[in-house]
Amino acid sequence: MTIIRIISIILFSICIAMYELSVAPFLPAPWNSFHPILGVLVLLVAIEKPNSAFILAGVSGFLLDVFSTGGTFFAVGRYLLLTMMMVTLNTHVLTNRSVFASVTLTVMTRVVDWIWISTATLIIVLLFRSPLHVPSIRSVGKMMAWDVAFVACGFVFFAYFTKRFLILPGTRRR
């Protein structure tokens, strides 16, 4: 991995973290439910760029922790662990590279992300009697719908332009 590539990924991570923090909250519904970090992580894992995914998870998670208005619950750790989970699943379980595998990964990741936040919130509520809220299923559902659309379109575009996952007669798929 070259230095230029690492810097590009860091800059890209800053941009999408800033989008999630300072652009998305100001948009009207349904646009404000589009939170692209997890979707981009899934795409990077699906196209087999795990190192880029880890950099993106670290940088964007750190920025979310630094700037968020609360409720992120150690986003840097959450994203790094989610990425680790995705890479493991991608290597050992969902070995078929397809839109369907990517969408499965997306749904699983968003659900695990929600479970993490809900568990952390419940622990805080029980320990400190703080009136925090678990994100509603409805809002998670809206985010998931955006994630699925984003990952499906992203994967199709990537596959179409790079021809990377094509199975042609007489050739072997990567």
Partner: protein
């Protein structure tokens, strides 16, 4: 995934977690905020621009409906207006007679909203001013047109978190405009609405009365407008009644705010 990568990520996570808990990350976080705030401002401006562009079709429909209501209520308002003008004239001449000098003990610190909660039940925003600018927890925040926005709930050197009136954790003592007496406590209900509770039965409160801050909190001055009374509920046998409030502030269009800082807390005064 290679075992080496798992070990590296695991170690990295442990180091970050330990640094986070022990506060070792704090200087790095402050530095990141200092570097990133101009970028956050730019993104927030872009977000506001995009938001108002995307909301334009909805806004047109809403404005058409509101216009019809306004036209209907204009006739009755004209009568009130004439009466108010007469009172204003009277007020002006009385002030002149008493050589009234209005002195404010507050500075207005302008700040830009750089982020806000995306959960509809948590109504809070992040502004780009903090303790370095002489701000303190509990200070009142108003919009450009003077409407009460909320109060500072958390402070960092360069940023502050503002809890808005409609947040479920917000509690502010309120009065009705013009009467000045404390009538109850306004409690947020999330999704942009609020209730005034603990209103004694003997207090007269009507639909469309203007609710303002009572000024009982040290850092929140009196008479900052909050909203209009929508409905008043409660049985005669209850010791208290409650009212639902329609906040005057439109959170969606909120971009710049003003923090009311006591003049004694100006950075140049505190450095002396």
């Amino acid at each position: 995934m290679s075992r080496r990568l798992i070990v590296i990520v695991g170690l990295l996570l442990s180091v970050i977690a330990v640094a986070n808990v022990t506060g070792l990350l704090a200087p790095f976080e402050h530095l990141s905020r200092a570097i990133m705030i101009p970028i956050a401002r730019t993104f927030a401006s872009a977000g506001h621009g995009m938001g108002s562009w995307l909301e334009r079709p909805l806004e047109i429909a809403r404005l058409t409906e509101k216009n019809a209501d306004l036209v209907a209520s204009l006739d009755s308002t004209v009568v009130d207006y004439v009466r108010l003008r007469a009172l204003e004239e009277e007020n002006r001449s009385l002030r002149a007679l008493l050589a009234f000098e209005e002195e404010s003990d507050y500075d207005f610190v302008p700040a830009r909203i750089i982020s806000r909660s995306s959960d509809e039940r948590r109504v809070e925003v992040l502004i780009d001013k903090g303790s370095r600018d002489g701000l303190e927890v509990g200070m009142a925040v108003v919009a450009e047109d003077g409407l009460f926005v909320g109060k500072i709930s958390e402070l960092q050197p360069r940023i502050s978190r503002i809890i808005l009136v409609s947040d479920e954790q917000s509690r502010i003592a309120v009065a009705t405009a013009g009467r000045g007496e404390l009538i109850g406590v306004i409690e947020g209900r999330g999704n942009g609405t609020a209730n005034v509770t603990l209103i004694p039965q003997q207090v007269e409160l009507n639909t469309d009365d203007i609710i303002v801050t009572a000024g009982t909190e040290e850092k929140i001055p009196a008479n900052l407008p909050i909203g209009l009374v929508n409905t008043v509920d409660g049985r005669q046998t209850d010791p208290f009644k409650h009212a639902s409030i329609e906040p005057l502030l439109r959170i969606e269009s909120l971009n710049l705010v003003l923090v009311l800082r006591s003049t004694a807390l100006r950075p140049e005064n505190t450095n002396q």
